[in-house]
Structure formats: C-alpha cells, structure tokens
Amino acid sequence: MAAVTPLLLLLLLSSAPSFSSGSRNAYNINGRVKIPQGLVDFAGLGTKGYALPGRMSNVKVLLNGGQNITFLRPDGYFSFHNIPAGTHLIEVSAIGYFFSPVRVDVSARNPGKVQAALTENRKGLSELVLEPLREEQYYEIREPFSIMSLLKSPMGLMVGFMLAVAFLMPKLVENMDPEEMRRAQEEMRSQGVPSLSSLLPGGTRN
C-alpha cells in the first residue's frame, strides 16, 4: 500500500455536493479502506494458490445492501457518487477479513458533512477510514503430528485404558495386604451377587 501523506487523510471526510450535478440533493461519499500491511501476506488463504491473497483489487464496497457497488483505487480510496441525503449503510466485502458495516449519515442541511459509525460496536469514526475488525481464517489448521494427539484420539485412549487395566490392575492386587485380600474375597463369596439393599443409599452394611 502506498504511503499516504497526512494531508490527504485530513481531507477524507469531505463530502462535497457533486459538482454541477443536475439534482441539488446529490452528494458524494468518499472514504478509504485500509488493510494493515502485515496482514496482507497471511490472509488465511494460504500459500498454495487456492485463492489470491487479499489483494485490493478483489475488495468491493457496497452501499445499502448492494444497491451501489464500487471498487478501491490502488491507494485504498473509494467514492460513491450521486447519493441522496439520509442515512446509508456501507459494507466492505473482502475475502479474508471481517469488516463491520458502517452507518453513514449524509446531512442535507449541512452540505458536506458526513457522520460515520461502525454498527458492530457503535464506535464513531472521525473519518471514513475502514479497517478490518479481524482476519478470517476459513480453514482449520492441521495440528502437527505429536504423540499426545495420537494418545488423545479415541483409539489411543482405548489402547491406553487397556494397557492400564492389563498392567496396573495386577500390580494393585499384588500390593494389597494378603489379609485384606482374603477378607475381601470372603466377603464377595458370602454376598454372592450384590443385593438390591446394598445398592440403595443408606442401606450399606458396616
């Protein structure tokens, strides 16, 4: 993106009645779309050539739900011509970026005055410079291969559980006190199948 002098930025919000136009109440809306330099290269579109990176030539600016469409100049400026006074909505369509729609009030009483506010977060704009709120990543990122991810997968968990049962359980039994073990076995024998009463809360013996 070409560097823009501060002087130009000051002129952004000027919206003069379109020069010598036939109708009196037609105005121009001028603004600028700014995509941060650093973002352009990794616009979530990858480098494999599935889509063009978020180039300025693929950005569209839409007024009132597509009633007027305009495109960006190389420096990011855009303008809508012959717009009646009133409240309008500007949307920016750029693959890879999320832009908030902008409410633009073109005043009829005070020609040349344009007020703008982002509708997503109600933030007022002192000048009509539209910047993406965030980047949009359309693809899931493949996690690089790791032992953890393999272990976390259902099959890995199954194997892990089986290993645990196969190796840890005998160890647990081994470490048990032989006395206690015998008692437990006896108890189980005496009980046979667990009775209903033992399952009920409060119905447990000892």
Binding site: S18, S20, S21, G22, N28, G44, L45, G46, Y50, A51, R55, M56, S57, K60, L62, N64, G65, G66, Q67, N68, I69, T70, F71, L72, R73, P74, S79, H81, N82, P84, G86, T87, H88, L89, E91, S93, A94, I95, G96, F98, S100, P101, R103, T119, E120, E136, Q137, Y138, Y139, E140, I141, R142, P144, F145, K152, P154, M155, L157, F161, A164
Partner: protein
C-alpha cells in the same frame, strides 16, 4: 469406576470441539466451483504486445472481465452493481481497460494485467442521453485523452488519471446525439445527431479545447428513426421512421449535403419495414428486413448499390483495420449444421480474405454476435480469429477453421434447478474406467498414513492430493450408495437445459429447448421453472426419469404457456407442447400414475385449473382426490391473498375434461395504504420431519405445529419499500403473518416497528427465520418464530395415555382449529443477505443449520440453535444440558463455517439443498454468476467414516494387537513354566 468416568469426561471434551469446517488440503474433494461471465455484449482484443494475449469483455450481467485468448480462462473479473450497466469498453494506452457505465455517468480505468481499478471519475450532464465512448490518440496537455459523450455533455478525459480536461454541453432539449466522430489524423470532432426527429445537426468541435468550430443543420421532411450507420468519417446513413427511405448525409468540410433513396429503388420486391444494423464498416452498411439482410455499398456522392442480399441469419462484425488504410470485417452465416465465417476487406465486397466452414453443435442455436481480431502469420499474410456469441450465451473462439475453446456462459443465468437420480449400476457393466487393484489400494492407504503421520515428502503430498481429487469414484455415471452422485438439471435464461454431474460439475448433456425457441407464434419465450415429472422407482424402473419445463410466450402473466418434457438421462426433448391457456402457477400434486408420472395442476390467469398429464388414468386418480385440492394466490400489487378449491369441470364452449373451474374459499385483504407484500415463504415440499414432539429441559414436551400448508408473508409500509435510509424509523414498520393456506386462518401476526425490508425468509418444520433491517439500531436483524400446537399439550399426562384418552392418533387437519402458541426472538446480524435456506436431510433427524448467502457472495452455515426463542441470558443447568446457548444480542459469524471457504459465488442468487441418501449429509448447490457445489454435514458425518479415515492405521493397529496377544501369551506361558519349576 473413577477411571471410567474420567475417560468419559475426556471423550466428551475431545468430541465437543465443533469442527465442521475444512482443512485447506480438503478443498476440491467434495466441492467444485465454476466461474462464468454471462452473455458477452462487447469484446475488445489485446494482442499487440508480446505478452499474454487477452480479450476484454463486458456482458449483459454487468461484468467486466479479461479472458486468456489461448484457453478462455478468466484472468480477472469485476461484477458491477445491478444498476451499473456497462455502456462501452475500450483499451487505452495499451495498459488500461476503460469502462463507461451507469448510463454514461461513471468512467473507470482498470489495470489490464491484474484488474486493479486505477481511477474512477464521475461524469454528469444536463440531461439524459445516449452514452458514447471514443478512445483517441489525441494528446491534450501531454495526456492521451478519451472523448466521452454522456448525459448531453461532451467530455475529454485524461487517460492517466481520469481528470476531465474540457467539457462542452449540448443542452438543446430535443437534440439526440447519435454519433461522435473523430476523422483519423485530425484534431477536431464531429458530433452529429437529430433535433426534434426531423432536423439533422452537425457540430464541429476543436478536440484540443472543446471550442465549437462550426454548427450546421438541415431539415428533412420526414422523421428520422433509430440508429445511424457511419459509412465514412464524414458520411452517415439513416432511415426515416417509415423504414422506406434511406438518407445519405455527408458533412464534408462542414457542408451538409443529403441524398434520399427509397428502399424500393434498390430492391425489386417490397421489403417491408427495414432497420439499420449497427456496424462501423467504411463504405458499406446493412439493413435488415423481416425476410433478409441486405448489404448496401455507398459509391461516392450518395449513390447506393446493393451488393448482397442474404436470407440466412447473418451477423456482421465491426470493422477492424488490418493495415494502413485497409479495413476488414467478418460475416457469419448459418448453413445447416455448419456456420460459414467470411472475412472481407471493406473496399472490395467480391473478394474475401478468409472463408471457413465450421461444424457447430446444433444445441448452441444461432450466432448472435461476432468480434474479430487479426494476427500476422509466419508468411506475413493476415490470419483472423473470431470470437462468437451464440444463442445459448456461450462464447467460442474460432481460429483456422476450428473451435479453439468454448465457454458455457449460459450457466451464469440459471432460472431454476432440480435434481435427477443417475441410472442404477447394472451387474457386469463396469462403469469406472480404472478399477484399482489391491496393491494400488494398499499403496494409496500407506501414502495416506504417511500423510497423517507427517512423514510424507512433498512429492508424496502431491501424489496424495492428486489421488484424492481424481478419485474416479465420485464422477461415475451411476447411482451410489450414499446418494452423493446426482444430476443437477438447470434451466438457463437462454432457454437451454444443462445437466451437471454433482461429482465434478461437468456438463453431462445440454439441450436448447425447442419450446423456448423464438418463433412466429411465440415471440418472447421465457422459461419459468422446472419440475420433476417422472421419478421412476419400484415398478417403473425401466423408464428414464424426466423433467417438466414450464415456460410462457412473453413477460406478462396472461401469455400462453409452453411445456416440454425432457429425458434426464439423455437430454432428449420427447414432448413439447404449446398450451392454449396461460400459466400463472404450477402445482405438483402428491399423486403419481402407474408409470410414476407425477400429476401436475396448472393454474391459468383466469383461475382455471388444468390437469397434466392428459390421460384417462390421471383423471381417475384426480377425481378421487378432487375435494382435497386447495391452493392460494398472492396478488402483490393489491395486497390480496386468496384461497381456492376446485368446483366443477370447465363450462367453456370446448368440452375439455382436464379443465376445472375453481371457487374462492377465503381472502385476506391487507390495507394497501399501510402494508405492501414484499416476501412470502413456504415449506419445502420434500422436507421430512422426524419428530413432532420436542422434549424440553424439565421433562416437559412441546408439540410442534407441523403443517405443509403454512405460508409466511412479510409486509412493509409502502413508503418503506424503497432503499435503506429513505424513511425515518417512525414511518416504517414490518408486519409478518403466518397463514394456513387451506382455511385462510391467520395463525400469528407480529409487527416490528422501525424496521424495513428487504426481507429474506425461510420456513421449515414449525419455525420461520427472517432477516430484515432495523432502522432504529441501524443494523440487520434476524428473527425466529416457532409455532407449537397447544391442543396436544395435554397428552403429556401419562394417565391419559394409559387410559387411551388422548388425541395423538387423530390426524392433523387444517379444519380442526388447533390452539397454537408461538415463541419468538430477535438477534442482530452483521451482513446483508442475498439468499437464505436450510439444510435438508433425508429423514430430518440431523439437526438443522441455516445456510446464509451473504452480501460478500459467501455461504455461511449457522446452527439453528443460535436462533432458538428459548435462549436466555442465564440458562438453567437443565437448559444448558439440553443445549441451549446463552443469549447474546448478535449472531456469531465463525469464519470456519463459511461452506464456500475462501471462494466467492459471485452474483449469488439462490442456494438449493438436496438430501443425500446418507442421513447426515445435505448436498448444497449455490448459483449466481458462479456455481458452487459441496456436501455439507450439519452435525458431522456421524453415520459414515470420514474421507480421511486411515484404514491402514486400523489394519496396523489390529496386526499389532494380534502380535501383542501372541507375544504376551508366549511370555505368560513361559512365566507359568518358570513358576512351576520353582
């Protein structure tokens, strides 16, 4: 036990992440995307430089695009707004594409290599007029300049930055400027036109500063009509309004002299009304009459001579200057299956530079336009290439007697789409070209495994990707088990039917419909919609399925209708008929005859119902269901919705037993001063609903009100039907209705104050979701209304069910006045909408997602759970478990749930969902200028293994387990042995 529960929790969390989206390397596996530009209006070649040869085209769909001249691929493309019609295009300075659009008020320059807009200027003028764009090599103040005439003003614009160098108004009220001419090598411009239709005006203007040098005019006794044809830089030919007198007007050196020649002098037989064909060939012009196209040469001093009279459809190109002072033009004529391309020099009619005959597909119809370009052959002679636009809107490049490439740009204007099943695979017939053997299969899976373990080399990755994309499985011409392979049948505005394979998007067949062909009796045929006529299963499997194409002969609703029946396997039109009545509505009835032909009821403009097919069997079936047929009509202009039922046979003078009279049952009249209908929505007839009851958190049951006769209507204040921002919130409102179309009962009515359209709505099961603009918040909103049947609510009492005192078995009928309750909620949504639909699965078990076509031409999937009227800020624990999401004021946009991922479906018009046989999956087809197709599983593919499931990993695991069992067995035996020895 603790371990088990821990594992369950772990499982639960690991499966909670909603990964519905794609990995980047999965692009193209299940989806395909095709780009089109539409019917070409004007084309300019760019072949001077040694770089890539291009052609720049503007189309009727307001697109400006550059195509590769070698392959026809799109380099770049811009879709202008709906009102931004392109008036003219040209190339300036060899690097900029100049477009004049919006009735001549916007002039833009685009960088030729990459399509970046370089400058834009807005041109205004005193009055509306014809727009003309003229590129010159004039240099004004060191800048190359363009001359633009638009809105009654002549502008000279700099090519470099779009600055207006000078302007000159032509304010005279009645002046109609026809041509702006710059004689080659001069520095003045002629502006010629008619004033008050009977006076010829000529202005000579200094091209350097816009100064008026001379103004001459001459009166003519008759009236001028239409176009003028330029036969030299200082002579024009015009026709009078009767079409019988030709005027040759020359303004050499600013002196006007005219000559009148009656057309009948040139031709022996009276030709009838003639019109001038616009062309720019020096010395020759063409007029077209009903019967023929006549080429006339101007031989000095206004003398005319007929050089050729052709009776075929003939198309002429503009002149192309091939060398110093020499011009050539192309003629294309039809002769049976061939077209003849002739390139002639302008000065000598009898000779020709090129004569070629090319075999042309009959399904492309006539040639509509031709553009030519020349190149120098190695032997220094001139070669020509021609770009032709056909009747079906396709674009072809002809060179050396052959078609170099063709583009099916008719697909940029699809009117309606339906689907058809493919033939069943027969035993013994192998359809796949390459059947993989076991070794290759295993090799493929080992490669895949390497890919998942990230051990693959870049070559391996490329091989995997190729293997996945080129899977022969998905493009077979037979039915598959999962129902993914189907034919998409699309009707285009040109009256052509295309069948696309869902596997890879290729065109299986295409057919230019005879019934939608222009003829004496049907001057302006237009296609309306497609219906499935015959869907054979069970006992009529030998029949091929067929589709019904409905059209009418003209734009008004009382024009006569036309029907065509097309075989969906072969594309043959086996029946085509012109109806004697109009078609206002087509109702597919839920009855089929013994050959599985579906009965259709066509309602004409006089509210008479006509039954098709016209067979005795159909009438028998229909008679028995006679009293169950209801329909409704919506009159948008007057705000009246009416319901009808059938009465008797037609009482016309002709005994037509397939025609029925209707009677009006009910009508809803909306107050026209406060409400205007803007949108209606109904349920998709193919939608299956799995369960009527909805279990809610506290073990309670709600019964959905499910009726196929539900109609959603949205109205706005008439003042607010315009664009956003034209009204204040106080004078704008949106009213929505839910209406039962059998009884006319309004089930629900709701008003949104301070809101306005456009409204997009989708109705499914027992809910409707609609999108509109809230003027107070100045944001878009989406609302949901769910409708529940209260009269069934008592059934949840267990005792009633036991005693049998319930009404669950009573049929749902529109006659019983069900007590309904509705729940509703609204949320903000960021984007404007172009289309909205809902996923459709075969049994309706899978949870639903909304598919939203945004203004950026992307398709976003949004879970229906986000639009649930029971959402609250703090859901209780029970509600959370049920899956209710805490309430937020706006709907989330998750970039990964764009099903079009990083693609755009330019000019998106509608999204069509079709159920696959696999319950989890919906087939989604989005069309506009582009086509996009994908499989979408709203709750993931829970009923089949995913595509990247690694069979090899499974095999290896099993082998490893078996090996481990053996090893442990041997080990344990050894240990036992050792224990015994001890």
């Amino acid at each position: 036990m603790a371990i088990m529960s821990f594992i369950f929790v772990f499982f639960f969390f690991s499966s909670l992440q909603p990964i519905l989206s794609l990995y980047e390397d999965q692009v193209g596996l299940m989806d395909w995307h095709q780009q089109y530009i539409g019917k070409v209006k004007q084309a300019v070649f760019h072949t001077h430089k040694t770089g890539r040869k291009r052609v720049v085209a503007s189309t009727e769909q307001n697109i400006i695009a550059t195509l590769d001249l070698r392959s026809g691929e799109i380099f770049w493309r811009h879709v202008l707004g709906p009102n931004d019609v392109v008036d003219g295009i040209d190339i300036a300075l060899g690097k900029y594409v100049i477009t004049l659009s919006s009735g001549g008020s916007i002039l833009r320059a685009w960088n030729l290599p990459d399509g970046q807009m370089v400058w834009e200027s807005s041109l205004h003028g005193p009055k509306h007029s014809k727009s003309l764009l003229l590129t010159t090599n004039l240099i004004i103040e060191k800048d190359n300049s363009l001359i633009v005439f638009s809105n009654g003003r002549l502008n000279a614009v700099s090519c470099i930055d779009g600055e207006v160098l000078w302007k000159k108004d032509f304010e005279e009220e009645s002046l109609e400027v026809q041509q702006v001419i710059q004689p080659p090598g001069s520095d003045f411009i002629y502006v010629v036109g008619f004033a008050a239709s009977s006076q010829f005006e000529m202005y000579k203007i200094n091209a350097k500063n816009g100064e008026l040098l001379k103004h001459e005019s001459t009166a003519f006794s008759g009236r001028f009509s239409g176009e003028v044809s330029l036969v030299s830089s200082e002579t024009v030919v015009a026709l009078d309004s009767t079409g019988s007198i030709l005027l040759t007007i020359s303004f050499h050196n600013g002196k006007i002299s005219s000559q009148q020649t009656p057309v009948s002098n040139l031709l022996e037989d009276s030709p009838g009304l003639a019109i001038i064909i616009h062309s720019s060939v020096t010395g020759i012009f063409a007029i077209k009459t009903d019967a023929a196209t006549i080429f006339i040469r101007v031989i000095g001093e206004g003398k005319l001579e007929v050089v050729e009279k052709t009776n075929h459809e003939t198309v002429v190109s503009d002149a192309l200057s091939i060398s110093e002072g020499q011009q050539a033009f192309a003629l294309v004529q039809h002769a049976g299956r061939n077209i003849h391309l002739t390139v002639k020099p302008a000065h000598d009619w009898d000779s020709s530079l090129l004569k070629e005959s090319i075999k042309m597909d009959q399904q492309r119809g006539f040639v509509h336009k031709v553009f030519i370009n020349n190149y120098i052959r190695t032997d220094r002679s001139h070669g020509f290439r021609a770009l032709i636009v056909m009747e079906d809107h396709s674009l072809l490049l002809l060179q050396q007697g052959a078609i170099v490439w063709s583009r099916e740009d008719g697909l940029a204007s699809i009117i309606d789409v339906t689907t058809s099943e493919l033939p069943v695979e027969k035993a013994g017939v192998s359809v796949a070209k390459v059947e993989l053997n076991l070794f290759e299969w295993l090799k493929g899976h080992v490669l895949k495994l390497k890919g998942t373990l990230m051990l693959a080399t870049p070559e391996d990755i490329a091989a995997i990707q190729y293997m996945r994309l080129k899977s022969s499985e998905k493009s077979k011409m037979t039915r598959d088990h999962n129902g993914f392979r189907k034919l998409l049948i699309a009707l285009t505005r040109a009256g052509k039917l295309f069948a696309l394979h869902t596997g890879d998007g290729r065109i299986v067949w295409s057919h230019l419909l005879q019934s939608l062909h222009k003829s004496e009796s049907c001057r302006q045929p237009i296609g309306l919609n497609l219906h499935q006529w015959q869907v054979p299963h069970h006992h009529a499997l030998d029949e091929n399925p067929s589709v019904l194409v409905v059209g009418r002969c003209g734009p008004s609703s009382d024009a006569l209708g036309v029907l065509s029946l097309v075989d969906s396997y072969t594309g043959k039109e086996f029946s085509s008929l012109r109806l004697v009545h109009s078609v206002a509505q087509v109702i597919p009835l839920p009855y089929t005859d013994s050959t599985e032909q579906r009965l259709h009821l066509l309602i004409d403009a006089d509210k008479l119902a006509h039954l098709y097919p016209k067979t005795p069997e159909a009438i028998d079936i229909f008679q028995s269901e006679f009293s169950n047929v209801y329909w409704y009509s919506i009159d948008d202009d007057n705000g009246i919705i009416k319901g009808y039922a059938l009465k008797t046979k037609c009482s016309g003078n002709v005994a037509d037993e397939f025609c029925f009279d209707s009677r009006e049952l009910w009508s809803i009249v909306l107050p026209s001063e406060s409400e205007k209908i803007i949108t209606t929505a109904t349920r998709n007839l193919n939608e299956a609903v799995h369960t009527q009851a909805k279990l809610i958190a506290d073990q309670d049951v709600m019964y959905k009100y499910i009726s196929s006769n539900l109609l959603f209507v949205a109205t706005v204040a008439p003042k607010a039907s315009g664009e956003i921002g034209s009204v204040t919130p106080e004078e704008s409102w949106l009213v929505v209705y839910l209406i039962d179309t059998v009884t006319g009962r309004v089930l629900h009515r709701m008003t949104h104050h301070g809101s306005q359209g456009p409204v997009q709505a989708v109705l499914s099961e027992n809910w409707v979701v609609y999108h509109y603009f809230n003027l107070r918040a100045h944001r878009y909103e989406m609302s949901v209304i769910e409708i529940y049947d209260q009269s069934r609510a008592d059934n949840k009492d267990v005792w009633k069910l036991v005693v049998g005192n319930h009404n669950l078995t009573s049929p749902v009928s529109s006659y019983s006045r069900a007590e309904v309750i509705t729940k509703s909620q609204s949320y903000f949504f960021t984007h404007s909408l172009k289309a909205i639909t809902v996923t459709l699965t075969v049994k309706g078990i899978t949870s639903k997602q909304l598919l939203i076509g945004t203004i950026g031409d992307q398709v976003l999937a949004l879970d229906k759970r986000f639009l649930d009227p029971r959402r609250s800020v703090n859901p209780t624990q029970a509600e959370r478990e049920e899956g209710i999401i805490p309430l937020t004021d706006s709907l989330p946009i998750i970039p990964q749930s764009y099903i079009t991922h990083s693609l755009r479906v330019e000019g998106l018009q509608s999204i069509i969902t079709v159920a696959a046989k696999l319950e989890s999956t919906t087939l989604v087809f989005a069309h506009g200028l582009d086509l996009f197709f994908t499989h979408y599983a709203p709750s993931r593919t829970y009923d089949s293994l995913t595509e990247d499931f690694s069979y090899a990993l499974l095999l290896i695991t099993i082998v490893a387990l078996v090996a481990a069992i053996f090893v442990t067995w041997i080990l344990s035996q050894r240990k036992e042995l050792q224990d015994r020895w001890r």
